[in-house]
Symmetry: C2
Subunit: 297 residues, 2 copies
């Protein structure tokens, strides 16, 4: 959780909810994989559960990305993970043997920074990981009354001090924004299992403030404007590839992209097929490298 | 957050949602205060914001309780605060100069214990306040697969270790119960201000598990069965006195009690009067001791 100081007045938060399409998902096969490749100029990839799990690359990813680049496709990485900057992400790709430029990376931390920038917040930041809060009589927990935005993202250092600080700013500072990088319930923060995601920290602050956040990561399409500034591709010629229905696939649908769900992350075939699921991707397959094998490349 | 081990199969969680009445609240005055006193045999008091704020007694409380006892009224204390046992609560009353027996105290921690007891859970408990979680490659975060219930209450030691432990138990242990002591968003944990309440921790676990808890504290009337076992008073001759609409007043209404809102805690007159508020107490007043002054005692 970060609190951002400002002296400007607050902007009007825009609504970013999405509408899900509900037609059936097609299993990726030789024919539709070829058609997909022909109809798309840019592939947007989620990272956790698609490119890697924790610090382990998913099988066949480097070869698949190489093949797509060799066919002139643009590659973009759109991640809700907010724990790294663009440079740190580029370094992570590098350490896994993948050559990705930082301007091909659109993370929810970047989205939050851009949201604050376009709303003219100065770049102040507080860091409270080691601070502790105690209930003491006659002792007031003081907070900075000029904090104008609280950004909540994935935070393994969540504690009661931060929760009280965020709660006071949002409840008591006039016009203070409550911004969520994303609301993913869980994610593959390590290779062997899932862990609570930013949705956990965001929900905690919703629970204490009884307010709902502005979400800047997927499924919000806020990041798309910045992506379009960089890449001269119409969204109808983009394909969003992800492992989460309620973030990746919904983001792709909200933005007007084609969508491909991979089952290498948090979503299982039974979740996809469940009658309660209304978010259906255009295509689904087990893992990214199926594109490579289906095309016989 | 506590995880409770069990080997028995899980019981069927009961639904405990309430329906709010919406008639207008009457300001307490001499006439209706007298009528209220005559029609009631037991007063049920919330504690934080009603009897005390943090460690400070609210003005006039001892004299009011003395007067009510002198008229033969039964006094019961029904609190959602889960950080203390009944004995610890009795000691807190004692330290503030109030003579209250532990069997007059019904806390949400007691409710959670009773919920587990009637559902035949053995009394095991884990304590993880000082433990830490780290995202390490090849390292599995292990959890006890026999944990059959996770109880979430107010926890100033909330951390990512506990959140991951609770999340794994609820998501992966077949039939594991998710029990919330209560969902109060904030409370007067100290005299000078409000702090995030159990609703914050409960929401965090809802956020990571995408599940809703069984709530045993107010506004659930689960505690009322135990209260009725102890006191031979019909609920229609009880008055619930509290400072929260969505817990205290709703609890009173759900149980068929009369209800009195005091404005000495988290609820303001404007919140009460707001058109969006559908929970109207029978009566409201500034503080508990108004009963005393209105009756001219």
């Amino acid at each position: 959780m970060e609190q951002v100081s400002m002296e400007a007045t607050n902007p009007n938060p825009s609504s970013m909810s999405g509408v899900a399409a509900a037609s059936a998902a097609e299993l990726l096969c030789c024919a539709n994989a070829r058609a997909l490749l022909d109809s798309v100029d840019a592939f947007l990839f989620d990272c956790d559960g698609v490119i890697w799990k924790g610090d382990k690359l998913i099988d066949g990813v480097p070869q698949t990305l190489d093949m797509l680049r060799s066919k002139g496709k643009k590659l973009v990485f759109v991640t809700n993970n907010s724990t790294k900057s663009r440079i740190q992400y580029a370094n992570k790709f590098q350490s896994l043997g993948l050559s990705v430029n930082q301007d091909e990376i659109f993370s929810s931390s970047f989205a939050a920074a851009m949201y604050l920038k376009v709303n003219q917040f100065p770049p102040h930041k507080k860091e409270d990981a080691e601070k502790r809060a105690q209930w003491k009589s006659n002792c007031l927990f003081e907070h900075d009354k000029y904090v104008g935005a609280v950004v909540v993202g994935l935070d393994p250092d969540i504690n009661y001090y931060k929760l009280q600080y965020a709660t006071l700013c949002i409840r008591e500072n006039p016009g203070c924004l409550f911004i969520a990088t994303n609301r993913d319930s869980v994610g593959h923060m390590t290779d062997l299992q899932e862990w609570p995601g930013a949705g956990c920290m965001v929900a905690a602050v919703c629970g204490s403030t009884e307010q709902e956040p502005i979400v800047v990561g997927k499924p919000s399409t806020f990041m798309m404007d910045f992506l379009l500034q960089k890449f001269n591709v119409s969204t109808s010629r983009m394909c969003m590839v992800g492992d989460r229905l309620d973030t990746d696939i919904l983001f792709g649908q909200n933005a007007g992209c084609k969508t491909l769900l991979v089952l290498s992350g948090v979503t299982t075939q039974s979740t996809l097929d469940d009658p309660s699921n209304s978010i259906k991707p255009d295509y689904y397959t087990n893992k990214v490298s199926d594109i490579l094998s289906l095309l016989g490349e």
